[in-house]
């Protein structure tokens, strides 16, 4: 499954990083604690969070995550958007809660 597939199926807004819409999604990780994601996420995972500052992109790049999904209508900061475009890691958004988006994402990508 590619990032563009979950964008369409979950009707997510694309904020940035459109060049990475064909990134392959291998799983998901849900956390707002950055060290938790740094320590425990795996490359290719889609990361669901409410954090919007630039450091989420540093983590997504270093961990080679497939995309970031920002919940509850929050919007990424401009510096976050710029880094996402630069690195080709899409930032997507939804008005839904972490619980709802994670549930829908799980249904889509579970094996």
């Amino acid at each position: 499954m590619k990032v563009r597939d979950i964008q369409e199926k979950l009707q997510l807004q694309l904020f940035s990083g459109g060049s990475g819409l064909d990134n392959e999604i291998t799983g998901g990780y849900v956390s707002d604690l950055l060290s938790d994601v740094m320590g425990n996420s795996d490359s290719g995972e889609a990361w669901v969070t409410l954090q919007t500052h630039k450091n989420i992109m540093a983590i997504a790049s270093l961990k080679e995550l497939s995309c970031i999904i920002i919940v509850k209508g929050f919007k990424p900061e401009q510096e976050t958007i710029d880094k996402s475009d630069e690195d080709g890691i899409p930032i997507l958004g939804s008005d839904k809660s972490t619980f709802e988006i994670s549930g829908e994402l799980y249904q889509l990508i579970k094996k």
Binding site: S35, M38, G39, N55, A58, L62
Partner: protein, 141 residues
């Protein structure tokens, strides 16, 4: 890779915008040197956490990374408040981070444990009100 490569970076305290830059650049160098991707992942996790620690707690710091065929040794030397109790600081969940830093999703008390888990050798020396020196080594072969 016959000779040692040394890389140097500077970190300013509270500069969260640039946190992770050194990690990102060292990662690129290690990839160019064809270091095993799993090893690179461990180094990146440890270095990023150490970088964020300097940004979150210290006034400024310097990073130096020395890469040889055998290993990478990364030293982070900062001027800052120092660590009062290093054993406490190594405890999962213990943090002295400010409320602002915690709001950003840092300061969960997972940084130093994350570092320890991902390196082969870790040495922390700290003097209160002076600064902290973290030396970590990861074997490359």
């Amino acid at each position: 890779m016959s000779n040692a490569i040394t890389l140097n970076y500077h970190i300013e305290g509270s500069d969260f915008i640039n946190a992770g830059n050194a990690s990102s650049q060292i990662k690129k160098v290690l990839q160019q040197l064809n270091v095993d991707p799993k090893t690179i992942k461990r180094i990146v996790v440890a270095l990023y956490e150490a970088e964020v620690n300097v940004v979150a707690h210290a006034y400024k710091g310097d990073i130096s990374a020395e890469i040889t065929t055998e290993d990478i040794t990364i030293t982070l030397d900062d001027e800052g408040p120092g660590i009062v109790d290093i054993d406490m600081a190594m405890t999962e969940g213990y943090s002295t981070a400010s409320p602002k830093v915690r709001e950003m999703g840092f300061g969960a008390g997972m940084g130093l444990p994350n570092i320890k888990r991902n390196v082969d050798e870790l040495n922390i020396q700290s003097e209160v009100k002076v600064g902290t020196k973290v030396v970590m080594k990861v074997k490359l072969s």
